[in-house]
Symmetry: C2
Subunit: 219 residues, 2 copies
DNA sequence: TAATTTTGTTAGATTAATCTAACTTATTAT
DNA sequence: ATAATAAGTTAGATTAATCTAACAAAATTA
């Protein structure tokens, strides 16, 4: 059994590998807000437990075992987020911190029940995929809204940034997963977009926002 | 903020005081399966934090502050148990271990939402009272089934022992909170009872069982 | 390529929670 | 009332996770 702290290292390694590719000690240290020597010694410990493939001065990698365990923690995290939104009526901007704690609960039945009550969901409330029971995760190939062209229509499929601030920004504009967005125009200077969706006819979105929205192009 | 470990000491002190009155180091040590010197040093620490009133060689007592914090943890535990049974359809024999972990989650909204979805319940699935938002707990005056007399009718209000084994024993006999039990006869030798309830006409319950069942007498 | 900066490691200290062994105080039994 | 037993404390060691300070390796820049 791994400690809660070890679980947090595994999860961070897994998420960072999915975001950036190569992970090093400095980045992991920054992400976890834990000093580098502590990270180094934890990497050695996780290496002894065959969860991490560690070599001095080399990038950090999870072993297959480590990937599986990390995937299962993220599965619990995302199932929880889905449960909190769907069954407990919390907002998608409020569930992260709670899921961050509940993901460490040790109880297969508890999470199986969640999964069942939710109807075996494939994604969480932010559109991120839920790893399967073997910890495997499949990312659908989405496009950034910022990579779409004028005239195109696309469905909001996921958000990259899940900070409460960004999600509240989207709430304030009635933007949620599933809305169909039509790109009216793109400002060449700053790449901001004028889009329409739902009842909104001409909403301006900055490039910073468009880069954090993932969409599925229509037709 | 208290650590998860400190919370477990507070909760044990609170529960033991409700069961037995005076609590000493030996008992607390046994309950938590932690050696006595460790318990002593934790008592000193909790005393420094004004949660426990500690004097060498004297019985252990929670301060008002300690009682409140313990009550709030037990509130979270019992709300969780109720939620798991009512909203997630788990059996009353399966919820303790999960609640034991979820009671440490730090998130007022999460537990407020539970409370709201459950309709502000006053008792948990085992009939134990749920402390209010200030951590206060009110025990109703129930009778042990073993203290009832022949011919009396009483409603199953709570169970004292919440071990999975005992609860499965009750499940197997269709005994649940709320069932109206009529005492047909009492065997003088071993104090076992023959009772009827629901569709069961002559169920034999040993004194060990009857002592662990709390009832509310009818009329 | 040599100097400088960044990244990573080693060594050793610290804290919280635990333990065992030895000792002290309180209670019980003779 | 004294001896024996039980309960509680003190002292000191251990483990996991953290830190700072000092050093070493790798990468970048001049």
């Amino acid at each position: 059994m791994n400690s809660l702290i070890e679980e947090n290292y595994l999860k961070a390694l897994f998420n960072m590998a999915n975001e950036a590719g190569e992970v090093n000690v400095t980045e992991l240290s920054r992400r976890l807000e834990i000093k580098m020597p502590t990270v180094t010694s934890m990497m050695k410990k996780l290496s002894d437990k065959k969860l991490v493939l560690y070599e001095s001065y080399k990038p950090l990698r999870l072993s297959e075992k480590g990937k599986k365990e990390a995937g299962l923690i993220i599965r619990k995290h995302r199932l929880t987020e889905m449960f909190l939104v769907e069954k407990m009526h919390l907002g998608w901007e409020d569930v992260h911190d709670i899921a961050e704690q509940i993901e460490h609960i040790q109880s297969p039945v508890f999470f199986e029940k969640m999964d069942e009550l939710l109807g075996y969901p494939k994604v969480d409330p932010h559109g991120s995929p839920i790893p399967d029971k073997s910890g495997k995760i499949v990312w659908k190939e989405y496009n950034k809204l910022s990579d779409c062209r004028e005239g195109e229509t696309a469905k909001l499929a996921a958000v990259i940034n899940t900070s409460s601030d960004f999600l509240k920004f989207l709430n304030g504009r009635e933007m949620r997963l599933g809305v169909k967005i039509k790109i009216r125009s793109i400002e060449p200077f700053d790449k901001s977009m004028v889009v329409s969706y739902g009842k909104r006819q001409a909403e301006v979105l900055s490039n910073v926002v468009c880069e954090r929205i993932l969409v599925e192009k229509e037709g």
